[in-house]
């Protein structure tokens, strides 16, 4: 069937629809660039969603845990090999994504007789200033967008992802405290999980606050922190909600 071009296009289209359908309901993940560092946040039901990749790089994602694990491992392998053969300073997120995992994802997606990766990923790299913080939104088919600074959302549906990102950018404007920002990210998580809109008719803050707290009770909130001004080369640390006063 795939020797006929139009059928190949149809098969790829079907595959795209299938992956999007499978990812529906996936728990979104977030990253926020702050003056002191980058905050990554995800809410999972048992499996991890936020990971350290290398000294200045981290990953958060949604999708099938086994697929996230394969990409995470590939990124860690590439970063450590690069660090050992050159230097830790040569490990860059741009190269990891564009010359590494992106290509692997695209190849996998176009091989129609293999199982596709069921993932949406968000990768972050801490810079010397918030303006130099780098984010990549990497999709299941290997395509990606880069962002510098600000807030990036990774959700299963592009429309709601865009709305949440726009709302968070406004809500987090001028906020420096990571606990305060984490609280807003968790409110956005709750809104996305319940399919609420991000317009003026959205639930008020009180409802959003009690909403995420109630929903997160039987889940694990994972918070990763990439510190900007650490004296040690390893910038990543996992934080608990109590460390954020939440």
């Amino acid at each position: 069937m795939t020797e006929e071009p139009y059928r190949w296009l149809e098969a790829v289209g079907n595959r795209r629809d299938y992956v999007r359908e499978q990812l529906k309901g996936g728990s979104p993940v977030f990253a926020a660039s702050l003056p002191e560092g980058i905050l990554l946040l995800g809410v999972g039901s048992g499996q991890s969603k936020v990971f350290e990749i290398f000294d200045r790089q981290a990953l958060a994602g949604l999708g099938h845990p086994a697929d996230i694990e394969k990409i995470r491992q590939a990124a860690i392998d590439a970063a450590h090999t690069e660090s050992f053969t050159r230097a830790p300073e040569d490990v860059s997120l741009r190269r990891l994504v564009s010359f590494g995992v992106s290509g692997q994802l695209k190849t996998n997606f176009e091989q129609l007789f293999t199982a596709p990766f069921l993932i949406e990923l968000l990768l972050a790299e801490i810079g010397s200033t918030p303006e130099h913080d780098l984010f990549f939104r990497l999709h299941f088919d290997g395509s990606f967008q880069s962002h510098t600074g600000g807030i990036v959302v990774c959700a299963s549906q592009p429309e709601t992802e865009s709305a949440a990102q726009k709302w968070l950018a406004e809500a987090c404007k001028g906020k420096k405290d990571r606990g305060e920002v984490a609280n807003l990210l968790l409110q956005a998580w709750w809104l996305l999980q319940h399919g609420k809109n991000f317009t003026e008719s959205m639930p008020d803050e009180k409802e959003r606050q009690s909403g995420w707290r109630s929903d997160a009770q039987d889940k694990t909130v994972e918070v990763g922190w990439l510190s900007r001004n650490s004296s040690r080369p390893i910038r990543y640390q996992a934080l608990t909600l109590s460390e954020l006063d939440l």
């Binding site: 991890s48 290398f54 491992q73 860690i76 392998d77 450590h80 090999t81 050992f84 053969t85």
Partner: protein, 256 residues
């Protein structure tokens, strides 16, 4: 993507798979095993393990520099003291640093202390051809945190050039000035008041600096400690909460 035949979390097998293992040479003519010019040592004190070393690097009778760091932080809970050929020793430190972090990040847990101790033994065994030729011998010390006890306890290990590992009860020393150091540490641990194992940080730093001063009087290849010329040791402490570096300024203060 991950190959199934690779050992999970093992960085050396990842390097082997990608044909990136550091160059190994075949055995040549046997030569006597010699430790190179250096003095490094570690001893237990009240707050954990203190690991110290001089900063001199020599080539024959030439002093190359007095600014070498021979006590290397491998990860948040491991220290390596290098004695021997610097090219090989620094490469071993780099392999260990990358291997330990690779394991921690890929397996989402830290490597156990016995596994870290054996990882260094494996590198020494791999280095056997260079050791037998007398051009690549390394005789390191290793300090790591035993996290199976509460509170975590720092432990000292020493090695022979072929990779045999031994746990030191009170102290260990390596390098050309180590004979002097071991004698003093043995005497002090038996008859000293206080014993090194009972010393507080300030006393332990002063003691470590004085050990190097004495070693440098008997061994021209060991750089001493001289506050007047701003020459200090490298001193690092491994305690239950991790590693602390004792800076030149702190050493200067303690030696007043």
């Amino acid at each position: 993507m991950t190959e199934t035949h690779r050992i999970a979390g093992d960085f050396l097998s990842l390097l082997a798979e990608r044909k990136l293992v550091p160059t190994r040479v075949e055995a040549g003519h046997a030569a006597p095993v010699q430790t190179q010019a250096t003095t490094v040592f570690a001893f237990h004190f009240a707050d954990g393990v203190m690991m110290a070393g001089d900063r001199r690097a020599t080539a024959g009778n030439i002093i190359v520099t007095d600014k070498v760091e021979k006590i290397i932080e491998i990860d948040a809970t491991s220290l390596l003291a290098i004695a021997g050929v610097p090219a090989t020793a620094f490469e071993m430190a780099r392999v260990l640093q990358t291997s330990f972090e690779y394991y921690r990040r890929s397996q989402l847990q830290t490597l156990s202390l016995p596994a870290k101790v054996r990882a260094l033994a494996r590198l020494l065994r791999d280095n056997l051809p260079m050791t037998m030729q007398g051009v690549g011998v390394v005789v390191p010390l290793f300090a790591g945190l035993d996290q199976t006890v509460s509170p975590p306890k720092a432990q000292i290990y020493f090695y022979d050039p072929l990779g045999a590992q031994f746990q030191a009860v009170g102290y260990a020393a390596s390098g050309s000035g180590s004979g002097t150091i071991r004698s003093i540490l043995s005497f002090q641990e038996r008859y000293g008041k206080p014993r090194p194992s009972d010393m507080k940080l300030a006393d332990a730093v002063k003691f470590a600096s004085r050990l190097l001063i004495v070693a440098s009087e008997f061994d021209s290849a060991t750089g001493g400690v001289n506050p007047a010329s701003e020459t200090f040791a490298t001193i690092r402490v491994l305690g239950p909460k991790g590693i602390e570096n004792i800076s030149d300024e702190q050493q200067k203060e303690f030696l007043k």
